[in-house]
């Protein structure tokens, strides 16, 4: 019994211990977990780095700058020379491989080597060369040039390509001005070939800059090379289509979220990315299609997925997909640096997390970039040249804002001003307003003979405007300047400038005397009242980037003659506002003078006509918007020929025909018709309303 009891007790004690260990055993992992939890959320949740309060030393002792007396070291000039000899080839930078001094004398001028007989040049390269030759940077004198462009076609350096130019190495080396490629720019679209697709051009480019499509980060020399988009030989030389975005639909999502359609390669460079795409393809809103059909012997590499993929591939129409997708995938192909397989897998989640406001603005930005820099060969080439010019004239280069917002770097010329507020485009972004006064520029072509001449009445009326800062009379008349006292006394300064060569284009010269943002451009025989001038200026303040004015005209496509037509008839819409009575930003004076080619300006000068049409072309090309006509149509100019001043050019019967010719000439230079129609005009709020005339601010406008 005793023993039995003892055993019983022993057993129960054992059971107790077992229970204890069991409990302990449960506790153990629990405790361990709680420890882990704490280690994750931090032992010291508020002060993870101990914010040491010791008196610590500063990282730079006070006396260090003195002891490191730079005077002891080699001269800066020597240092620059050392850089120039060390950093060559792959390590070229503007500082080491570019001779800035060539650009100092004559500014940024580009020379194109004369084409050699028997050298074949591809259409694309020909387009590049003719763009440069037609641009304002071009010089035919190598002595004036700061940048040199080869006439040897370097676009396609794929040895298997029919466009490949052989013996380029010797041809380049034998160029007399080559100078180891210094200050040379080489354009390239394709380099290397199957299977490794190197980015080497197959000849020694020396110190030349590369403007190349698909440069990998490894070979790209920052701030030296220029990365350009890959374009096909069908890419238009000038003009180019506008982007396809027509609507900003809300919500911005389209039928597909993400699409891609292309070759899969199966093996070799770039295949791992594209082989992975099927993981994300869901045939609903993510449609990533690849085909195995590539090259002649694709069947050899064929894998299990090929038949299914090829069938799926044929089901979708490429264009339909592109136009109906919110995002388009751009996976690497054979060429172009390294991209990661997993990144592709992540895209749909990433893409889905993008907020719809962001989609709306991203989409519009793509259109802006396309239209500003990509839509034609000309834009691509000019952008390349402007990028290099920005580096050459570093203190007079464009800010990122100028490159990345409408109307883009090709239309925003930094040589005009470095201050963004001097341009008509950035008022809203900077939160500022244009200067609240204007300068009137009256174009005088007939001699001053009587005191009742329209120009004098105009002068008085304009000077009375509360917004008028000054009046400039541009004397483009063959007769000498009239005596000062012949001009009426006005409360604002009247400055008479004798026109340079008395040519038409001089009315749009960027005179330094124009200190206001707004310019009121006037013909000498324009009839305007002070009220009309005031109203024009108040309207312009709302649309500082457009032409705002009175006489409106329209253009149309004449399908019989297959050309553009110009009309001054009564129409329900208009696309031009003539500069005989129009308000616009003074920047357009600069752009007219410095952006437009000499050929067009010469044409205007020789005809003494069409300057107003050209200005409308220019402004609409920049804004992509119509001008703004204000108030009613007056009997004006072409419809009242010969009534006012007999000498008026408007009385010339050829005048109208010339304007048709101008239209077509201008349209061909711009590569497209930039003019845009508008169906509305702006009137004062109470214009002809049935309310007492005394309540109306612009009552004179109603008395025609």
């Amino acid at each position: 019994m005793q023993a039995k009891k003892r055993y019983l007790i022993l057993l129960s004690a054992g059971a107790c211990l077992a229970l204890l260990f069991y409990l302990g055993g449960v506790e153990l992992p629990a405790a361990r977990r709680s420890r882990q939890d704490r280690s994750r959320s931090g032992y010291r949740p508020e002060q993870p780095w101990p914010h040491y309060s010791d008196p610590l030393h500063g990282f730079v002792p006070w006396d260090q700058t003195d002891t490191e007396d730079y005077n002891l070291h080699i001269s800066a000039r020597q240092k620059r020379d050392v850089n120039r000899s060390v950093y060559r080839g792959k390590r070229c930078r503007m500082d080491s491989c570019f001779d800035f001094s060539l650009c100092q004398k004559n500014g940024f001028k580009v020379y194109v080597y004369p084409q050699q007989k028997g050298e074949k040049i591809s259409e694309s390269y020909q387009n590049i060369l003719s763009t440069i030759e037609g641009s304002r940077f071009y010089t035919s004198d190598p002595g004036q040039a700061c940048l040199f462009v080869l006439s040897l076609d370097t676009l396609d350096r794929d040895q298997l390509s029919p466009q490949y130019v052989h013996n380029l190495k010797t041809k380049v080396q034998s160029l007399p001005l080559w100078n180891d490629g210094r200050n040379h720019l080489i354009f390239n679209l394709y380099s290397g070939t199957w299977p490794d697709y190197t980015e080497d051009l197959g000849f020694d480019i020396g110190q030349a800059m590369l403007a190349k499509a698909s440069i990998g980060a490894e070979n790209f020399r920052p701030r030296f090379d220029v990365s350009i988009p890959l374009f096909s030989k069908e890419h238009p030389r000038t003009g180019g289509e506008r982007g396809f975005l027509k609507y900003n639909t809300i919500p911005p999502f389209r039928k597909y979220m993400l699409v891609f359609k292309g070759k899969r390669y199966l093996t070799g460079i770039g295949s791992d990315t594209r082989n992975a795409l099927y993981h994300v393809h869901n045939a609903e809103d993510v449609v990533l299609l690849t085909t195995c059909k590539h090259g002649k012997d694709w069947q050899k590499h064929k894998d299990a997925r090929c038949d299914k993929d090829n069938a799926e591939y044929d089901k979708y129409d490429y264009k339909e997909m592109l136009h109906n997708s919110t995002f388009c995938l751009v996976p690497r192909g054979r060429r172009l640096g390294s991209f990661r397989f997993l990144e592709a897998l992540q895209i749909p989640t990433t893409v889905r997390s993008i907020h719809q406001d962001k989609i709306l603005s991203l989409r519009q930005q793509t259109q802006f970039l396309w239209e500003a820099y990509f839509s034609s060969v000309e834009k691509i080439v000019l952008t390349t040249l402007e990028i290099i010019q920005d580096r050459v004239l570093e203190h007079g280069s464009r800010s990122s804002l100028m490159w990345n917002s409408h109307p883009g770097g090709l239309f925003a010329l930094p040589q005009y001003s470095g201050y963004l507020g001097d341009f008509p485009f950035y008022y809203a972004t900077l939160g500022i307003k244009p200067y609240p006064k204007f300068t009137a520029v009256i174009h005088a072509v007939s001699p001053l003979v009587s005191q009742s001449q329209p120009i004098l009445k105009l002068l008085v009326a304009v000077a009375k405007s509360q917004y008028c800062a000054q009046i400039i009379v541009l004397w483009n008349c063959d007769k000498p300047l009239p005596a000062k006292h012949r001009w009426p006394a006005t409360s604002v300064p009247v400055i008479v400038i004798e026109g340079e060569n008395k040519v038409m284009s001089s009315r749009f010269l960027p005179y330094e005397t124009i200190v206001t943002d707004a310019v009121l451009s006037l013909d000498e025989d324009t009839v305007l009242s002070t009220t009309e001038v005031d109203f024009a200026f108040t309207v312009w303040q709302s649309f500082p980037e457009r032409i705002v004015g009175y006489p409106a005209r329209s253009h149309f496509w004449d399908s019989n003659k297959e050309r553009w037509g110009y009309t001054s008839k009564w129409t329900n819409d208009y696309s031009m506002v003539l500069t005989g009575a129009a308000m616009f930003h003074r920047y357009y004076h600069y752009l007219y003078t410095h952006y437009l080619p000499t050929s067009l300006k010469n044409m205007v000068d020789q005809l003494a006509n069409c300057e107003d049409i050209l200005m409308n072309f220019l402004v609409s090309a920049v804004t992509k918007l119509p001008p703004i006509k204000i108030t009613q149509k007056k009997q004006y100019k072409e419809t009242m020929m010969g009534q006012s001043s007999r000498a008026s050019r408007w009385a010339d019967p050829d005048h109208f025909a010339q304007r048709q010719t101008c239209m077509n000439k201008f349209a061909s230079w711009f590569g497209a018709m930039p003019l845009v129609h508008s169906q509305m005009r702006l009137d004062p709020v109470l214009f002809k309303d049935q309310v007492s005339i005394l309540r109306k601010k612009y009552r004179d406008i109603e008395r025609l």
Partner: protein, 740 residues
């Protein structure tokens, strides 16, 4: 403090454990009386012994569980509170491996493992900081002469206080060593490299970030840190274009210790006493000679300062500059100049740049091939002038050609750059992390405007969401949204009138009456376009601005159920005008806000005025995007306020659109005698003074919520080109305009 908590927790566990044991024994003893009489004392001892064992076992288990932990935490606690001298000492064996030199071809996609950062909804990288260790070589000599510097401690403290920080090494995607390499001069290169390689997560430097401000050393002064560092990212001050790995390294400023010591008074941008100031002390003599020559040519406009020869060296001398015996306070003197020269020294990065920016002086940077601080995101064109060293002699001419307004703009921008990105080690550190973050989550990256616009510009500038100049095609037409309650007869007349407009694509009737069903389908007027009726859950005014899926066009015509006076020509013309201004409200009745000087507040005006700042949404075209904005992005409590007051939804919409686009609405066609459209709001409120007073109240309320008055006043309206012209009416596109 936290430690104490932990200790008390431990104690309480013990007492808990004790209590439970007591309880158990108590329980046993409660059963005791039945057992004990039958037990012998021997047994009782046995039981007591047994329970002692159990108790001890429990205690031992508790000790086992918590003892080591409490030791661990108390060790860290001392480290936390204590000084840097308590950091563990690590002896580096001479044979310790040395990392490879930095790889110049490193880019984010080759040398950085972005997958460690993972996809996370906050789009924020997680940063881990190694605990401080004191590294010494075999002979016990420290690897750095200064150890942890004040600045690096500030930097790491700031990062650990930020959202980027994690103390969980397994979740981190970026690692920051606590080894201070800010100044290469105080480092032993080889040993520092060995120390880096010893870090537990070093892994060839992958995802590690080093901060260095003073790279290189005599005689050739490399422009990047000389410490071999494998693939580690370098945030370096003074990179040149040859050492900077674009898109991988981050170029940072050289911190100026004066930033923390000196408070400069606020100085408005504008002309200053000197035109150009040179205040650096260690300028190469070639450049000093060049500057002297410029001074000779241009006289007083230039001020050339150097260190004071008569002052003893030390902290005080850093605050003084001299010119011909005259002493100037530094950096205060920088505020007296429009431009300040920042020349390269032995190094490209100069702390003077920071002082110059702080003073709102425009830096003129002469340091060829220098990668400006944070140039990946900052637009230095707007805050500085960069001149090639060779053109130092032309500096005066170049600077003179800059327009005054641009100089003022640059002064403002320069000071703002300092304030936001240069002013403290915290600013520098967090900016660096944000840049890395922007690379890893590019779709959530900060915009150019966010980086570069100072608050005052951010506040006054507008970035219209519909910024592309685009005139949408006519073809899709517009959707008319008619808000109605129960005026069926009037509604049907409106529907019949609108259906005559050629570009009408769809009619959407928002039935805002919950107590009454809309009329049967057969009773509705027959129209040539789809007609949909939406029944709302609550009678709210904001229902009219909901972005219904049924609205498939961009253009929306909001129209009240009693606006029957608009002709088909007027509506069609309104749509054509909207196409030319798709980012604006284009409407018929125009209204104005005025400042009431007597009352000192805004007033609503519906009289015949020469100006317009609002159009009523009783009849207005606008982009569907604004429906979305009104419903989801209306600031403050405006939406609820409008629904509660059953008024002013149109004013709210005008505020919203003007605020986001910065543009005035467009009033179209002459004024008609609308029978007070404001008064037609749902319940047919009568025209009375209180209603107008309420609308004035709305303007004041909304202006205070928006924090500004966004409405823009204009003096024009839109009419058809040939309106009122002496021209045959039948040849006009829109002849029927303005007839009453």
């Amino acid at each position: 403090m936290k430690h104490l908590n932990r200790r008390s927790f431990f104690c309480s566990f013990l007492s808990d454990g004790g209590a439970s044991v007591m309880y158990a024994s108590g329980k046993y003893s409660s059963r005791g009386p039945a057992l004990i009489p039958r037990m012998k004392t021997k047994h009782r001892i046995y039981y007591i012994a047994l329970f002692s064992v159990v108790l001890l076992g429990l205690i031992a288990t508790g000790m086992f569980q918590f003892w080591p932990h409490s030791i661990e935490s108390s060790a860290e606690w001392t480290l936390e509170k204590g000084s840097v001298h308590d950091a563990p000492l690590i002896r580096l064996p001479a044979s310790s491996p040395i990392p490879e030199r930095g790889d110049l071809s490193c880019r984010m996609h080759t040398c950085f493992d972005v997958y460690r950062c993972g996809y996370n909804p906050k789009n924020k990288i997680k940063v881990y900081i190694y605990p401080l260790q004191r590294f010494v070589d075999e002979f016990g000599v420290p690897i750095s002469s200064t150890g942890l510097s004040r600045e690096y401690n500030d930097l790491l403290s700031a990062i650990s206080d930020s959202d980027f920080y994690t103390d969980d090494v397994t979740r981190a995607c970026l690692f920051i060593p606590s080894i201070d390499v800010l100044n290469q001069n105080s480092l032993r290169i080889r040993e520092t490299a060995q120390a880096l390689a010893m870090l537990p997560r070093w892994d060839k430097g992958m995802n590690h970030l080093l901060f260095n401000m003073l790279p290189g050393g005599p005689p050739d002064y490399n422009t990047a840190l000389d410490v071999p560092r494998d693939r580690a990212l370098l945030a370096g001050g003074g990179f040149s274009t040859w050492t900077y790995r674009q898109g991988y390294d981050v170029s940072i400023p050289v911190y100026s210790p004066l930033s923390a010591d000196v408070m400069l008074p606020e100085r408005q941008p504008g002309p200053r006493r000197y035109f150009i100031l040179s205040s650096q002390t260690a300028i190469h003599r070639e450049y000093r000679a060049e500057l002297e020559r410029l001074k000779e040519e241009n006289g007083e406009a230039l001020l050339l300062l150097d260190k004071c020869s008569n002052l003893s060296q030390g902290a005080a001398s850093a605050r003084k500059r001299c010119y011909k015996g005259q002493v100037y306070d530094y950096p205060q003197i920088l505020q007296e100049s429009s431009f300040c020269v920042v020349l390269r020294g032995a190094r490209l990065g100069q702390a003077a740049l920071s002082d110059v920016l702080q003073a709102g002086c425009v830096p003129v940077i002469l340091a060829d091939s220098y990668i400006l601080p944070f140039s990946e995101v900052l637009d230095w064109k707007r805050a500085s002038v960069v001149i090639p060293e060779e053109k130092l002699s032309e500096m005066y001419t170049i600077l003179k050609s800059i327009p005054h307004r641009q100089v003022e703009e640059m002064q403002r921008q320069a000071h703002w750059f300092w304030e936001a990105y240069f002013s403290s080690m915290k600013a520098i550190g967090l900016t660096t992390l944000q840049i890395v973050n922007d690379r890893i989550y590019p779709y959530a990256a900060r915009t150019y405007e966010q980086w570069n616009n100072p608050p005052v510009v951010k506040w006054s500038s507008v970035n219209s969401p519909l910024f592309l100049p685009l005139i949408p095609p006519r073809a899709p037409g517009f959707t008319a949204v008619v808000l109605t309650y129960d005026r069926v007869e009037s509604l049907f007349r409106v529907i019949t009138e609108i259906s005559k407009v050629p570009s009408l694509a769809k009619l959407l009737v928002v039935w805002n009456n919950q107590n009454k069903s809309p009329p049967e389908e057969s009773l509705w007027p027959k129209v040539g376009v789809p007609l949909k009726v939406v029944r709302t859950k609550e009678n709210k005014l904001s229902n009219r601005f909901f972005p219904y899926d049924e609205i498939e066009t961009e253009a929306v015509l909001a129209i009240d159920d009693d606006i029957i006076m608009l002709t088909s020509d007027e509506l069609q013309f309104g749509y054509e005008v909207w196409r030319e201004f798709p980012d604006r409200l284009v409407g018929y009745p125009g209204r104005l806000h005025l400042w009431d000087h007597e009352m000192g507040k805004w007033k609503y005006e519906s009289e015949w005025t020469n100006e317009v700042s609002m159009v009523l949404t009783g009849a207005a075209f606008y982009h569907k995007y604004f429906n979305y904005l009104y419903t989801y992005k209306m600031p403050g409590d405006i939406k609820n306020w409008v629904d509660a007051h059953m008024n002013c939804e149109d004013i709210a919409m005008n505020f919203l659109v003007a605020n986001i686009t910065g543009k005035a609405p467009i009033k179209v066609t002459p004024r008609k005698k609308f029978k007070c459209p404001e008064c037609t709001a749902i319940d047919g409120l009568s025209l009375d003074q209180t209603h107008m007073v309420e609308r004035s109240e709305c303007i004041n309320k909304f202006a205070s919520v928006f924090g500004t008055m966004p409405l823009k006043v204009v003096e024009h309206r839109a009419d058809p080109v040939l309106y009122k012209d002496d021209f045959p009416e039948k040849l006009k596109s829109f002849p029927n305009i303005g007839s009453l």
